[in-house]
Symmetry: C2
Subunit: 272 residues, 2 copies
């Protein structure tokens, strides 16, 4: 095991450079029901791209398809620059373990963010400040305890169970790393998968659940994000439909100053 | 050229089976500014998967990354089943022409949609019926004229130009094929890219514009969709942010009876 870095998140998403083949390792600190927290897997893939010698520009879009569970231990990242243009790059990453099939398949777009007309029609959500809210208590899953979740709306009660009408799937909460860490594209990527399952909220109970495909768009370049100099984001998430074992989620990650940093959507399996 | 099929859309999205390499061809009937309409490219990729002998289940998620312009003529589709589970499949498709780099990179998830608890928190939009609205007039781009667009809200005026505050990017419209064709997963895929650029609406003018990455989730299985037996959908789209040359779009495709059929999101380049 390599020496621990300054932050657990950076330790969990650490990658070792190869030519087209990189290596990573699951972290017990970010463990979910049956494998690593999907957000950290996504962030690890993004880290391999950001640290790649051929990378140019900032992350614009990342789609991660979770094909099969990842076992505890090391994994390989097959990183391929599919197409490079003057101002954008298209990447494909396959995560696998040993001789097994691909466990995670991702595509990413990087882009040089040139100055342009700018307009933010989305309304920044209002919220009680982070410091005035109480931290959500620890859960059995280790990954959740690496975060500081402070609910503004939609505080979950997973013990109540579904009685009559489903609850709202809408959530508004602050998300920061439990040990504060400056928000960067890696943490935005992980946090875009850090919402609890919408089906848990709607049914007020836990159930077998897994993200199948996750897409996140980044709306600032790395320099602007760095200039925000923040350690938590205001996040909202909601669902539109649950049908035949799959449900959607869409979410937004905002800076405390009211800047939309990222939008995200996912489709997830549930058993209910 | 092969003989025309019953509908231009089926002609435009026709594929010829190979082993892992399939063939398609651009259609002058679905041409956009500098290449084929991205929605038809996405639908062609989806068609190759749906017609693939190894396919199982119904389309659940498709992400299409537009890496480079596609020239008029034939193209190859490199179709690869990355991982198959008991109830889902993960695919990767690369579109290329001749010896050139990949022009379009796509990932797809297919799934067996098993019965489950069902809940649709999203509110079906209200709209004047399709038959009572006027068809949007023809445009210079051939693809747009293959559709019957009937605007309920956000009728575009691309001549006005940006004066003072940007216009709303919100649009509500009916979309059908100009020659009616029963809505299937292929047409949902194409229609999810058939909104005009959000930046066009916000700035009330046309500008250099191109979809970079498009993701669509399907919320019914093919049998339920077929049972709807419809030839148009009620579609809404909006944008949250335009910043440093890229803007987002998120949209919903509804059946006339108020069933959410698909949700879609994309990030697009614009020059303004």
């Amino acid at each position: 095991m390599p020496a621990r870095t300054a932050h657990l998140f950076d330790d969990a998403t650490r990658v070792t450079a190869g030519d087209s083949r990189w290596q990573g390792r699951t972290s017990p600190d970010y463990w979910a029901f049956v494998g690593p927290f999907g957000g950290v897997t996504a962030a690890t893939i993004l880290r391999a791209l950001i640290e790649h010698p051929l990378v140019s520009g900032d992350p614009l879009a990342l789609t991660v398809n979770y094909c099969a569970p990842i076992a505890e231990g090391g994994f390989d990242l097959d990183v391929r620059l599919v197409k490079a243009n003057r101002s954008s790059q298209h990447w494909c990453v396959e995560l696998s373990q040993g001789d097994n099939d691909v466990a995670t398949l991702a595509t990413a777009v990087f882009a040089a963010r040139r100055p342009s007309w700018s307009h933010q029609p989305a309304q920044a959500p209002e919220a009680t400040p982070f410091a005035q809210l109480r931290r959500f208590p620890n859960l059995a899953m280790s990954w959740a305890n690496q975060y500081d979740f402070r609910f503004v709306e939609g505080l979950p009660d997973f013990q109540a169970g579904l009685q009559g009408e489903p609850s709202s799937a809408y959530t508004k909460l602050w998300i920061g790393d439990r040990t504060p860490r400056q928000i960067d594209p890696l943490s935005l990527m992980a946090m875009s998968d850090a919402f609890f399952g919408r089906a848990f909220h709607a049914r007020r109970e836990l159930m077998p659940f897994g993200t199948v495909s996750l897409t996140t768009y980044f709306h600032t370049d790395a320099a602007d994000l760095f200039a925000e100099d923040i350690t938590h984001v205001l996040a909202i998430a909601d669902a539109k439909i649950f049908n035949k074992s799959y449900g959607d989620q869409h979410g937004e990650l905002w800076s405390p100053a009211g800047r939309l940093l990222a939008t995200t959507t996912q489709i997830a399996y549930f058993k209910a």
